[in-house]
């Protein structure tokens, strides 16, 4: 197992170097001088300009500059926002819980509905239910989620008035951030109605963000189950006289789980992509909206640092998913 972890970690390093190269090159391709960009419209004296050039290492060869960048990144220094002057890393980690909370609710929504739907579709293959699930999931997979969000707002917030249009919680409440997860913090605060408000703000964004993962999970569960249901050991289990439910739940589902877990793990990238759009639609104060606003404001350090951190998070989650298979499936662990 130790070797397996090491080999996975070894695979991670070149990818991480690649991402830092990308963000390093990115900032150099942006038109204009980075120091002047930072100075803004006030301008800057030639002497101060030279001083800053030295301070940032811009007078060094490119390869040295890259080395300096890497060493700063490894020390957790991702620069400061042009706009707020706050450290990029601290801004990211302040907003990150909001994105995680939304993503977790979305993936729970997707799994809770997608998994049983895919299983039942596989068991009742070619029934109306099966065709319905497959049709709906292909539609969900093709969904432009930024439009889907607007439609849901139109129906549930505007027409029916059931859910709020935007934000994380009603403006009436001020919740002291403890964990950063509003569902938990609002309970801890003990304020009446705060938790309900947080939940009602979460419902629509979670559905929107969970739609594509839901479609993918339902399709994958169905095909994984179909494959397993055709295996000999399922026939053996049935021949032994086990009940249909027992065969499906204990024998088939457990073996279908590996591709399903894989697919759920792969949704992390999808969730981040979706979070950028979902947070923009619902004014959800997470890292996706923060990045988009950084582009509008030409806040390049935020863009550079944010992309690097998001890439790192996706990499780490992918690594955890990889390690999880190793635990579920010994064949992967011992394979060379």
């Amino acid at each position: 197992m130790f070797r397996f972890v090491l080999s996975r970690l070894g695979f991670l390093i070149p990818t991480f170097i690649g991402i830092t190269l990308l963000t390093f090159i990115m900032i150099r391709l942006v038109p204009g001088d980075p120091i002047e960009a930072q100075a803004g419209e006030r301008g800057i004296s030639a002497a101060r300009h030279e001083e800053l050039r030295k301070a940032y290492g811009f007078d060094q060869p490119v390869i040295v500059q890259y080395g300096l960048y890497i060493s700063r990144v490894l020390q957790g220094d991702l620069g400061r926002s042009f706009v707020t002057r706050n450290s990029v890393a601290s801004e990211f980690f302040e907003l990150f819980p909001a994105t995680v909370e939304l993503s977790l609710c979305a993936i729970i929504f997707a799994v809770v509905i997608g998994l049983p739907a895919g299983m039942i579709a596989a068991v009742r293959r070619n029934s109306i239910f099966d065709h319905g699930v497959m049709g709906i999931s292909l539609t969900g997979y093709s969904m432009p989620i930024f439009w889907w969000g607007l439609l849901l707002i139109l129906l549930f917030s505007v027409q029916l008035g059931w859910t709020p249009v935007s934000g994380r919680i009603d403006l009436l409440y001020y919740i002291e951030p403890v964990t950063g997860f509003l569902l938990i913090d609002s309970l801890l605060s003990g304020e009446e109605g705060a938790f309900g408000s947080a939940v009602s703000h979460l419902i629509l964004p979670s559905i929107v963000l969970g739609t594509i993962p839901l479609a993918v999970i339902a399709r994958m569960t169905r095909s994984a189950m179909l494959e397993v249901l055709g295996e000999d050991y399922i026939r053996t289990a049935r021949a032994k006289g086990l009940s249909g439910m027992r065969v499906i739940a204990l024998h088939a589902f457990r073996n279908a789980l590996i591709p399903i877990v894989t697919v759920i793990g792969l949704q992390v990238g999808v969730l981040f992509t979706g979070a950028i759009l979902t947070e923009t639609i619902f004014s959800w104060p997470g890292v996706g909206k923060w990045l988009i606003e950084a582009i509008y404001r030409r806040d390049y350090p935020v863009l550079q640092g944010g992309v690097l951190l998001m890439g790192a998070v996706v990499m780490i989650v992918n690594l955890l998913v990889d390690l999880a298979y190793g635990i579920i499936n010994p064949r992967i662990r011992h394979a060379r």
């Binding site: 991402i19 990308l22 292909l138 093709s142 992509t273 950028i276 990045l291 582009i295 992918n318």
Partner: protein, 306 residues
């Protein structure tokens, strides 16, 4: 026994009645047609393509012409709607139906152009990786891993942020993001094919490397590439629309569907039609390409048949 097997089996009605085996195309169509969803998807694509090609003839109004007497006019079946604007008008009095029809032209061109761009460059890069191996392959595949690690829209946003917003840059960004799929497919196919006897035979016959790659190997790995390309069109339309929605793709007054939605966002409370119809067009078109992609995969790639 053997004589029975050797006799030509009766061919299903509808295909070539002659004793000759059906051509590749006919066999493909026979497989494809059995998938109802794929046929529906194909029909939708034909209709949308028709709208795109004949947009100047079909669209009742010029897509950018504003009508100062009809701001946010609802569709014809609602109170206040009129026959001159079947699907209503937007906030500055432009005819929604006309803009949607012209938008088909824009969105389809985006989809096709992006796929051609990433398919051609992906095949070339993938071939280089599969053929040369060694450090070239390692460098290429690591670069592709980096692209795949970053969420696709995030990377596209970064590229657009560097190049500046606009349709052409958005298309380059989406093409780059989808590149790894083609590179991986081509490389895997090339490595698989190169060890086969027919390649050795071609080499013994004195064919040049380039000739072997394009004449022998490429046609043999075409099927997965075609499937990926048809699914790629839908992904490209969706991503380009998302960029347009974020204000990073096609710029107003272009009647790109995603850009139209971005304009419509602030009217979501007052005018449902400006929000509903552009998104519906995106959904229908993307769904059609996905249906056809699924059908193509089933018809072209028996290994993937479920």
């Amino acid at each position: 026994m053997t004589t029975e097997v050797l006799q030509t089996p009766p061919i299903a009605a509808g295909t070539t009645p002659a004793a000759a085996p059906p051509s590749d195309l006919a066999a493909f169509w026979h497989d494809f047609r059995r998938n109802t969803g794929a046929v529906i998807g194909l029909a939708i694509i034909v209709v949308v393509t028709g709208l795109a090609v004949f947009a100047p003839l079909i669209a009742p109004h010029h897509p950018d012409r504003t009508d100062s007497t009809a701001f946010l006019r609802p569709p014809v079946w609602q109170d206040g709607g009129s026959w001159s604007h079947l699907l209503g008008t937007d906030a500055i009095g432009r005819d929604l139906l006309s803009r949607l029809i012209w938008g088909a032209q824009l969105s389809l061109s985006i989809g096709v152009a992006v796929v051609v761009l990433s398919l051609v460059s992906g095949v070339l890069i993938g071939m280089a990786a599969g053929y040369f191996r060694g450090w070239i392959e390692t460098a290429i595949m690591r670069a592709m891993d980096v692209i795949l690690t970053l969420p696709s829209l995030l990377l596209a946003i970064v590229i657009v942020a560097i190049l500046g917003p606009g349709l052409a840059n958005a298309m380059i960004a989406v093409a780059l993001v989808t590149l790894p799929h083609y590179v991986r497919l081509t490389r895997a196919a090339v490595i698989g094919e190169l060890s086969k006897d027919y390649v050795t035979a071609a080499r013994v016959g004195g064919s040049s490397n380039l000739r072997i790659m394009f004449k022998e190997v490429l046609p043999n790995c075409a099927a997965p590439l075609i499937v990926q390309a048809s699914l790629g069109v839908s992904a490209a339309i969706l991503d380009a629309a998302a960029l347009g929605f974020l204000g990073l793709g096609a710029q107003p007054p272009a009647s790109e569907w995603g850009t139209m939605l971005a304009d419509a966002r602030e009217f979501v409370l007052r005018a449902w039609w400006v929000v509903t119809f552009p998104g519906l067009m995106i959904l229908i078109t993307v769904l059609a390409f996905n249906l056809v992609g699924d059908g193509l995969r089933d018809a072209l790639d028996p290994k993937l048949k479920r």
